[in-house]
Structures are given as C-alpha cells and as structure tokens.
Amino acid sequence: MLRFICPICNLPADETELTPGGEAHIQRKGPGSSDSEFYEYLFERKNPLGIHFERWLHSYGCGKWFHAARCTKTMEVFGTYKAQEVKPPRHIIDNIKKKRPNWKNE
C-alpha cells in the first residue's frame, strides 16, 4: 500500500486516495509522426526494474496529477514533483544519485 506526498497538498496521500497513471515524461506524438514513433508513444514502455518516473493523480484529494520517482524493486520513493515538469527536476535527480550512485538516467 503505497503512500506519496502529494506535491500540491503536501499531504501524505494513501494509495487508495490516488489513481496510478503509468510512465511519466512520455512525449505525445500526434498527426505527422511516423507509424513507429506513434507506436512508441502509445505502447512502448521502459518498465524498468529500478527507478521509474511515473504519474499519479490525487483523485480523492486535490484532483491534481503529479509525478513521482519510485523504485519498482524496493518501492523506495525519491520524491514527487509537479506534473508540468517535462523532465525530472534537479533535486530529484540529486536525491536519486545520492542514494543510488550507479544509477544512470536514460
């Protein structure tokens, strides 16, 4: 039963108050993209064993989406941040690197 601190409310939100939304930072591909680009956007996922940047919705709370960096192996959370960040912010990356020196952001 996960728990994240919603970066908007600053409240620890119980998993049952949240809705998961899959991988974060996927760049939308619309008309004009090639078939394979569109396939990548729609279906291909990193699904890593390790640190995953992902989306959550504080659905029973403020109703806002946010991003989280979480390890899919240990469930450790390295921080949450706003959904409008197009890439993981510096402090999140720093925190991950501090705790997982060998981690590479791909």
């Binding site: 039963m1 728990r3 119980d14 998993e15 619309g30 705790k99």
Partner: protein
Amino acid sequence: MSARISKGGRLLDPSKRLSFSFNGRNLFGFQGDTLASALLANDQVLIGRSFKYHRPRGIVSSGVEEPNALMSLGHGANFEPNRSATTIELLDGLEVISQNHLGSLEWDFGFINNFFAKIFPAGFYYKTFMQPRIAWKHLFEPIIRNAAGLGRAPSLPDEASYEHFYAHVDVLVVGAGLAGLLTTYELGKSGLNVLLVEQKHFLGGHALSGDFEVNGTPIAAWIEKTKQELANLENVQIKKNFTLVGIHDHRYLIGYENLEVAERLGQSAIRHRLWRLRTKKIVLATGAIERPLIFAGNDIPGVMLSSAALEFYKLYGISPGDRTVVVTNNDLAYLAAINLHDAGLSVPLIIDVRDSSNGDLPNLSLSKGIRIEFGKGISSVLGKKRVSGIEMCSLKGEGSVQETIPCDSVAVSGGWSSTLHLWSHCGGKLIWDYKLNTFLPNSSKAPTDENGENFIFVVGSAAGSFCPSQIPQNIKETVSTLLNDFQGVKQKTTKILIREIRYGDCDSTFVTPEGAGEKLKTKCFIDFQNDVKLSDLRLATQEGYESVEHLKRYTTLGMATDQGKLSNINGLKYLANLVGKEIEHVGTTTFRPPYTPISLGSIAGEARKGLFKPVRKTPLHFWHEANGAVWEPVGDWKRPYAYPKSNETIEQAVAREVTSTRHSLGILDASTLGKIIVSGPDAGDFLDLLYTNVMSNLKIGRCRYGLMCNENGFLFDDGVVARLSEESFLCHTTTGGAERVHSWMEEWHQTEWWGKKVFIQNVTEQYTQITLAGPKSRLLLEKLGGSNISSENFKPLDFLEGKLAEIEARIFRVSFSGELSFEIAIPSQNGVEFWQRCFEVGSKFDIIPYGTEALHVMRAEKGFIMIGDETDGTVIPQDLNLGWAVSKKKKDFIGKRAQERIFMADPCRKTLVGLSLQNSSDKIPDGAAVIIGGGGKRSNEVIGHVTSTYFSPTLNKPIAMALLKGGEKLRGKSIEIPMEFDKALKATVVDPKFYDVEGSRQND
C-alpha cells in the same frame, strides 16, 4: 491422564465455572481457560484427525502455532470451521466439534488411509490416477477432495458485523511479552505515541509462566504493575486480542482485533475489527516459538511441546499427564520438568540429546531427584490414541531400544525459533545463528520503507535474547537507536535488572535417533497437519524437488493452517542434511501475510449488503421507487429500467412507454447524464482537441453532438455540447462516462495542455435533468410557461436559459428518441418540484414516465448509437457511419493520428448496419454472430455481430443493428444469424435508421 490440579493456574478464575460441549458431551472449565486447556482439564487428549492419513492427534502447543487442535465452533449462522483450540478463550455455552473424521473421532473410517500410507507418499497423486482418463474427474478427484479439506463449510450466511479502523501511531510495539512490555515502558517515557498489541487475551507472553524477578518483583506481579503504569500514560495504548498480521509496503500494517468474546457477551457490536495502521517505526517483540524434536510416533496424542506443558500448568493448572517424560536439546525444557515435578507430578526421566549442558538447570533438576539421561534419544513413542510409553535409545545409532519407560505424556523441545514472519513480509532477510539454532533478522538486509530506511526493530527472544536477563540491555540499545529518528525526543531510561539462572546452549540435533532407518522415518512427523514425514522429504529430494520451494510444493510442508510455524525450520534442517548444504544456503520459503489466518468477513469490513458498494441516487429516486420502477444498475447509479403497472410484464411496460411517448408525451429522469463546464479563453480550442469535431465555432445558444475518442482512435463517449457564453461550454456525457470524461479532460489539461486557460468543473450533481419527449412536449412546456419555445424561436439544437413554471431552467432542444423533445436542467434542489409540476400539468397530455429500456428502444428505432452497445472499445466513429462528426480540417485532436493507421482504413473493418428480419415473428438474440451463406455451419465466415436488438413497438417488428465486415457494401444483401440446432434466421442488411428517416418528427 491430563487433568486439572490444584496448583498453578495464574490465569484462572476458579470462581467462574463455564460449561461447554465437545462432540455433544458437556464439559466444564473456568474463566481464563482457553478451549485447549479446558479440553485437557477434561482428559480430552485425542482432539482431531490429521489431513491425509486421519491419524489420531492431540494438542501439541499452547499458541498460534498449533497444527492439530482444529475445531468447528457453533452452529447455524455462527458455525465456523478450523479454529485452533489453543487460541480460543473459553466461553460459557461454547459448542465444539472435532474435525476430519468419517464416523466418530475415536473410530474414524478414514484411518484406513493410514494403512495405505506406504503407497501414499508425498506427491503420489502425480504418479497415478492417469488411466483411464475419464476416471480422474469422476472417480479419483472426488475421492481425494472428500478426504481432504478439514472442517465443513458454514451453510448459512454470516450475520455478524465487521469493520475497519485506520490509525496512525508513532511507534507500534508488537507482542506484549517481557520484551514488548519493557520496550513500551521505555518508549512511554519519551512522550511518543505508542501502541502495544498482543495477540493473546493476556499480557506477559512466556514470561508469565516464568519464575524470575524484575527489579526484585516476581514476574507475574511485575507484569500487573507495568500494565497499570502503562495504562496511566496518555500517549500509550495497549490492545489485547490484537494480532499484527501483515506488514506491507510503505509502513502499512494490518492488524486483526478479535472481539469474539466481547461480541458473544454483548459488549461489542463488532466481531472482528481490521486495523490499517501507518506508523513511523515498528518494534517486533514477537518472541519465539518452540520446535518439536523429531522421532517416530512424535504425533501420538500426549506428545506436546515443553513450553506448552509448562504453560498449561502455570497458567491454567493443568497436568499434561501423570507421568511426563521430557526430551530436549536445550535447557529451557528443564523448566517444564522442574515445575511439573514441583507440582507433585511424576517426571520419570529427562532425555537430553546433548552430551552435557553448561547451564544451571540440569543440576537443579538432579538436585530435585529427577533422572537425566544425556546423549540419548527416543526411538519410538508407544501408544495409538495416546501415549503409553517411550522407548529410549542412544542418540547416535539406529534406535535400538535400551529401555522402555511407561508414561502418558511427553514434553519435547527441539529448540526455539524466533518469530520473524513479520520481518520478512516486506522483504527482510534472515540469517542462521549457529549458536542459538534459530534464524535471526539480517540487519544488513532489513526491510525498508518509502525512504529506503529501516523501520523495523526486533527485541527480546525474537532477536535471540532467549534468556530474560539479556533483554533489558537489548531493549535499551534498540530504543535509543529508534529514538534517534524522532527529532528532539530523548531517552529517559530506568535501570532494569532481571535475575535468572544461566541457560545452557541449545544443540542442533533435531532428529532422534540420528541414524533412524526408513521404517522409523515413515513415522517421524514434521508437518503434523499435512502429515509430512521425514521419509517424504527424503523422497522429494531424491526426485529432485530439492529447492525449498519445490520441496514445499511437492510435499505440502508448511502449507497447512499454521503455515509451518512448528514445522518449517525442522523441515529446512532436514533438507539441508539431505542435500549436504548449510541451512542458510537452503534458505526459507517466503513468509506471507497474514501471520495468522483472519476472517474473510473482517477483510470485507462493513462493505456488505446495503453498504457493499455505493449506490448513487438522483433527486427523483424516491419518486421512481414510489411509482414502481424496476431498477437497472448503470455505473454506480440505479436508473429506472421501466415502470410496469401491476398487470403488466416488463416487456409490455416498455412497449407502452414507447408507444405513449411517440403518441403523446413521455418524461424521463436523465439526471445521471454527465454535465461538465469547460470555461476560459481557450475553452473552444481545448474542446477542439478533445472532441473529434469542431467545437470552437459553435454559436452561443447552440448545441452540437460531439464524439470523444481515446489516443487509440476508439470512440469512448458521446454527448451534446452547448455553448453557454463566449468562454464557457457545457459538455454532456453518458451516464457511465461523467467521471471518466471529467478526469479525462483534467488529465489532458494538467499534463499536456496546461498552457490552455480553461477551468473544468463537473456539475453533474448540480442539476436534475429531465427529458420531455413526444409530440405534446411543447404543449406541456408552454403550459408551464416562462420561456418562448415556439418552433420558430427555438430550433433543434438550440438552447436557452430561462424559467419554466417559475423555476430557473436551462432548456435544450435535443432528441435521442426521434420525437420532438426537450431536455431541461433544473437546479437539483428544485428537481422534484419541477417533476411534479410536469405531472400535474401533463396529465391532460397523458404524460407517462419512461425508463432506460424505452429510451434504448426509441434510439434504436432511430438508428442512434449507444456507447457500450455499438461500441466496445475497438470501434472508431467511422465504423458507425459517424465520419461526419470527425473533423478533417482540424490539425490535431485526440485519436486523429491513431485513425490514420493502416488497419483503421482497412476495407474489412466492421461497420454499422441495420438488420431487417425476413420473417418478422423471429427475434434476433443479443450479441448473435452474423454469417454469410447458408446453414449456420461453422465453416461459414463470421462477418460480424449484432450490437442491439429489440422488438420495435412502433414498427411492430423486430429491429437490430449489427457491425459487419464491409457493412456498407452489404446493403440489401441477405445475411444469416445462426441459431441453435443448425437453424438460422435470415435477415436483410438495411439502413440502421428504421423510423422517421427524414427526422421530421424531431424537427417539428
């Protein structure tokens, strides 16, 4: 015999006699007894039969690790199988029945299995019962199933109440033994908010059976005193009958509070309460569980753990037998011998498999005149339904008998296993301690929380401090590290001194004699409940099932209701021997929640019957109810399906509702339709991205039917959009779609197009939405008065904000029935009033309410699609001839790119058509498949399926819509719908608009 004696019994209240029944026999016990102690008090040593061989079994333990003493309790709605007698507090009037015997407990026909035991070793069923094939299902499987299964299932629904409770605490201490009490005592002074939980109905754990002193106070008195002191602390709470059953990710814990006794005594409305705890730190003071030694006949009733013998005596005043032989590999079991001896019972012999002991207890025993034999073991236990003696042998050899000692009980100890299940639930690992002969927490592979930090601390015998005198120091250190993690909280320690004699080391022996041959091994039980013997483990490894996990699954070792609490470590030790590895390399199987079984009722909590799932009700719900509505669940809503009159069938009611609406006037509660306001300077642009058609050019005061697709191009919702003002749109959605569409819009706005200035607000519940349909609908509205809705002034797809019958209303001229129709939104507070006004005024127009089915029939007659019927998540608008509502001009909208993919333009895609039956007395079934060509045979190509099918009261014939491959090209062609028995219905492919194709009625 086992019996109640006048000594011991720290938990008993001899003034309160309780009566209970066992297999119909009336027996007595006292307040404070467990069912197990009460049974023993009545010399009920044989208490059940084992799972596979139906062997006679007795009580072996005094706690949750009990594998044998499973009972069925109560009757009727209170019946419950598989309850272990050692964990049940005795209650007056308790009804108890033993389990798993064909015939009586004493004379069990199932015992016949025991004689075939030789051909039923572990996994025998994988090797046989294969021929003839049919026999497995009809013969062998039923036999196996009936033989297995322990207790009967309840036959009546459970009437008890259950509930959940959420709590946040700073520190949770699990287990109120000496270690748990001391920890709580220490933490209590810190001011932190502490919860101490104990699964049993008393505090003190094993220490309550001890005879040592804490700071000079005898242990029992110290426990009582500490309990009082803790009770006075504001920040500390203690819960008995409360088992922590699971530790889940991110410090989410599940606790199981057993209130059965309080419930039975009328002091609690709740039977079980399931706690969900979030805590900062957890201290496991869960103690240790004793292991049996393994020797032939170790399952015969009368053989029990030394700690059980001690506890039954100390806490409940029970003698396990008149003559008790103790057999052990450690010092602690001497406590049982000494205590029984001091109680005046006979302890003819202590068999100690060790060569000697470096502790004080053996000498103490000798000084009391108890005989000790070192380096010996048990070759066999004598007796069938209870112990009559043991045969002593030397530990080394193969078990040749040196002496036969008559006795009626055997107290056995094979060492102690620290209780660390909870440590492992969330990924914590264990290491084997060779000195203590137990697994201990591996602090370098501890479970971690969401911050990647350790959050579980282990103290007391769970951490390997088996001797009470070690515990205070262990706790002091733990508490100080724990408090480090709480800012500003300092430790205030008290000096605690526990004086206790020195315990000698435990030895690693677990099987006696060491050289036991095959014959003995087939009587050496490891898992009592599942009848797993040494010979089974040997066979499994011989066949290659030698990883612990294979071993477990092949032999069922540790899979019983005690989950191997008693058997696992012995099993692992034997496995290690068999495969020639150290136990730490063999590893353990995974510990999984729950620590002890919990009722399914408690998991469901209050969410049953009426509270199972929310029901959403419109403001008019009570009216529908009072007017005979039959309900249909739609999403969380309940909507009226139809309003049958007392003499009508539902079909007749639907037909009447349709006809009457088409002829005069029908009224529908459409409040469940989603209503979403999208407002802001960019609202139009934003909606252009969400709908397939253009919304930005909609005129104020006008409506447009819109479609929404997902990024895969598939249609998922439709509805009418109205432009309220320059910057504000009102989007209608399907009933099931309101929340989905609202969050869909929010998601795209927040995560992709946050630059667009819009606010999105779900106002579904703000309005009572009412549809008035039928040729007389305008007349009614005119009668209600307040707004100009004349045909010149108020065209199809117009809307206006005004008043009707003095009530503020928004009126939309839209039609889903094909009739002249108005949809009216009234603030929900006024909905009922308005609805009733419609009936008052409408009576002269023959107004009738209609339900969802009439609505569906009417829309099908018009060939309108229904999300969920014509769509199934794989359909694009073009398939439904709705290409006109998909903009070609727009650069982008959700689903556009997807619709450009190869398969979306494939000519063999299914498209929507109407079906007209050639024989109009037929009815096309829902979902029927459609083929081309005759015969209804399998060989024919399936070209699609029926999406909607109704009998049309308007046209007086069946109508249907279907999605067919290349549907458009099939117009006018004949297709077939195969039915049972190779029959087929014949139909012609037609336009799905069956009624009023020009739309003159709705545009009137």
